[in-house]
């Protein structure tokens, strides 16, 4: 995974609350292969009308959004289904960071596993950032080393779990670390088999 340290990019303002993962990628697209890129399905039913036409007033359809690396939105982003495809859609569209007052827990951990930073800000700061993005220049800097967001002459702090911060800064994949712990896992399994024999599934057929 690509390490995340400091990102300067344009940002897209999406002033909606509770954008759930069903909206981030509708279920009907989840059969598709990732190789085709999931960016085309991101927020599909909000971006396109029933005849498949782009809704011109939807923020993600603006020309500036095409180059945006940061999405700014309201509370409870990514609630609902555990589908990691929601993160694939954001990442494949070009986002590397989502700024919001709160995130669905499973979404946030899926995001970190794909190098996407869930940056949590206060509700007041989220509103101010959204307003600034709609009025002044859209360039934003997200600095994970100091947990700071810079926008024009304003600076905001964001929160991210320290474990996730380290993982993103280093671009670590959990699997590499766990692979080196195979011995510990085997020892646990041996002890546990004696202590909790009911964990083993008895074949009834």
């Amino acid at each position: 995974m690509k390490p995340f340290e400091i990102l300067t990019t344009s940002a897209c303002a999406l002033p909606l609350a509770s954008i759930d993962t069903d909206q981030l990628i509708p279920a009907r697209f989840m059969k598709r292969s990732r190789a085709d890129g999931y960016g085309q399905y991101l927020l599909h039913d909000l971006r396109f009308d029933e005849s498949g036409e782009r809704r011109p007033d939807f923020p993600l359809n603006s020309t500036s959004a095409q180059a945006a690396g940061v999405l700014v939105t309201r509370r409870n982003f990514g609630a609902g289904s555990s589908r990691e495809a929601a993160v694939y859609a954001l990442v494949d569209f070009g986002f590397r960071c989502v700024i919001a007052p709160s995130f669905g827990d499973i979404f946030a951990s899926n995001a970190v596993n794909n190098g996407l930073l869930p940056a949590q800000v206060s509700e007041t700061d989220a509103e101010e950032i959204l307003t600034l993005l709609q009025t002044t220049a859209s360039h934003i800097t997200v600095d994970l080393r100091d947990s700071l967001i810079r926008l024009g002459n304003r600076t905001f702090t964001f929160a991210v779990d320290p474990i996730w911060r380290t993982k993103l800064l280093n671009g670590w994949d959990d699997l590499d670390l766990t692979a080196s712990l195979a011995g510990d896992i085997s020892r646990f399994e041996q002890q546990d088999a004696g202590a909790r024999p009911w964990v083993q599934i008895q074949d009834s057929d």
Binding site: N76, D174, I201
Partner: protein, 472 residues
């Protein structure tokens, strides 16, 4: 794993028993006792193939076909090839890795969170994960069960472990008895309306209190199922005699000496008297009424006797903007009494409310009556379907004019093609009223099975209580 010392919560006891090792930064590697996979797990199996790796513990991994299975035919060649392909792909991935599978043609097939408890695979004190957010369901047994994403599914397939940081502990106590005819669904929706759809984010919930103890195992499954709709990582209920009685005799449950040892260990799981929670919420059982959702988030829930909220009367600007958005999507009017909202169809099913008690509750309202709207009844598993047919419940649904179909996720998520047409309004026993969840443009109202039956009979959202009192 000393079992002595500080008072601990149910959550702590299960967590502590599964820690393989701890990292400097505080993350802990948890051993996973049960890993459930379904058709949607293909991204994770693909990662495995890329690495040419094998599943570490196929014996603790269980495949269930549910998300894409057709409910109107038992013949795969009759359905769309891309959907049939999803079901075959799960079969192939499980066979290739020696994973036990309850596939589409298995007589025990059903929704993953119904099959687990039904087969005795779900037990107290276990850690259970699945690439599905409603894995919280299994917490009804006092298991630590939570949904994970595809990267984590791949991690569990390869290592049978997961890196986790401890969530905070929250206890929700429902004190005193609930009124007659109040169900676990009403309790759950009331909780979510009280604390919000993100109210429990970052927390593991324990449900406690007399109203929770009084719930059947099926009611507890419904309640824990909906934990994720308040944003919780998981929901748990301490195991008790109801739990042990339910587990005993299930096909994969422990037997003999091992069962006795297990029950002795499970009796030690309940939270110690002095254990401390990060947050405590207390609700009064008597305050809970039959509840429905009117909006686009499960937190948009109100007693059936209430009215659609008026955003103009709100002080909170962001709440007012959400209510406006919800009213517009749902095609409602501010101030409209909820029991005047006309519906176009009903759905009874999903891992939330498709077990035998749910079907009995709906059937008892529908018996001898006719539905004014079309609808689908999809039992939670093939075995639930058989049981219902033995009891004659299928006849009640069919005579009322509803379709009695096979088991699967069906209209909960619409992946198999069971969809609510755009603009139509559905009274549903499912778990999510998100925009487009039951199909693009579909409008969903969540409620209990008995309340869905009442809506079917009257053609609008309705209080089921008068219908229960009058003779059919």
């Amino acid at each position: 794993m000393t079992g002595t010392g500080q008072p601990r919560t149910l959550f702590d006891k299960v967590w502590d028993a599964h820690v393989v090792t701890r990292r400097e930064d505080g993350a802990e590697l948890l051993f996973i006792d049960r890993h459930l996979v379904h058709e949607g797990s293909f991204h994770a199996f693909n990662k495995l193939k890329d690495k040419r790796a094998k599943v570490r513990r196929p014996d603790l991994t269980i495949g269930v076909a549910d998300h894409y299975v057709p409910t109107r035919t038992r013949v795969l060649s009759e359905i769309a090839p891309d959907i049939a392909g999803m079901i075959r792909q799960l079969d192939d991935n499980c066979r290739a890795n020696d994973i036990r599978i309850f596939g589409f043609d298995d007589p025990r097939q059903g929704i993953v969170h119904v099959v687990g408890p039904e087969q005795g695979l779900t037990l107290p004190g276990l850690t259970m994960v699945c690439g599905d957010s409603h894995t919280s369901t299994h917490g009804a047994f006092g298991a630590l069960a939570f949904g994970i994403g595809a990267s984590e599914v791949a991690h569990v397939l390869l290592t049978q472990t997961l890196w986790q940081k401890q969530p905070k502990r929250m206890r929700i106590t429902i004190d005193g008895a609930t009124a007659p005819d109040i169900t676990a669904k009403d309790i759950a929706l009331s909780i979510i309306a009280t604390i919000g759809a993100d109210g429990a984010q970052g927390h593991a919930i324990e449900y406690a209190g007399t109203a929770i103890r009084a719930l059947s195992m099926e009611g507890r499954l419904t309640l824990c199922n909906l934990s994720i709709e308040s944003g919780a990582r998981c929901g748990m209920i301490a195991p008790d005699e109801s739990t042990f009685a339910y587990v005993k005799g299930r096909p994969f449950a422990p037997v003999g000496d091992i069962l006795d040892r297990a029950i002795a260990a499970w009796r030690k799981l309940p939270t110690n008297a002095d254990a401390v929670f990060d947050r405590e919420i207390v609700l009064r059982g008597m305050d809970i009424a039959p509840t429905v959702t009117w909006g686009i988030s499960p937190e948009d829930a109100l007693p059936i006797v209430a009215s659609v909220p008026d955003p103009a009367a709100m002080d909170d600007a962001s709440r007012a903007s959400h209510i406006r958005e919800a009213i517009e999507y749902m095609g409602l009017t501010p101030g409209q009494p909820l029991d005047t909202i006309r519906i176009d169809r009903v759905f009874i099913g999903s891992c939330t409310n498709s077990r035998i008690e749910d079907l009995r509750a709906a059937a008892s309202v529908l018996a001898g009556r006719k539905a004014r709207v079309p609808g689908l009844v999809s039992p939670g598993s093939h075995l639930v379907k058989q049981q219902a047919e033995q009891e004659g419940l299928d006849r009640i649904f069919i005579d009322a004019g509803l379709d009695w179909v096979g088991s699967g996720c069906s209209m909960c998520v619409g992946m198999n093609g069971d969809l609510v047409p755009s603009g139509e309004r559905c009274a549903s026993t499912t778990n999510r009223n998100f925009k487009g969840r039951q199909g693009p443009g579909a409008r969903t109202h969540l409620m209990s099975p008995a309340m869905v039956a009442a809506a079917a009979i009257t053609g609008h959202l309705a209080d089921v209580r008068p219908l229960l009192r009058s003779d059919a």
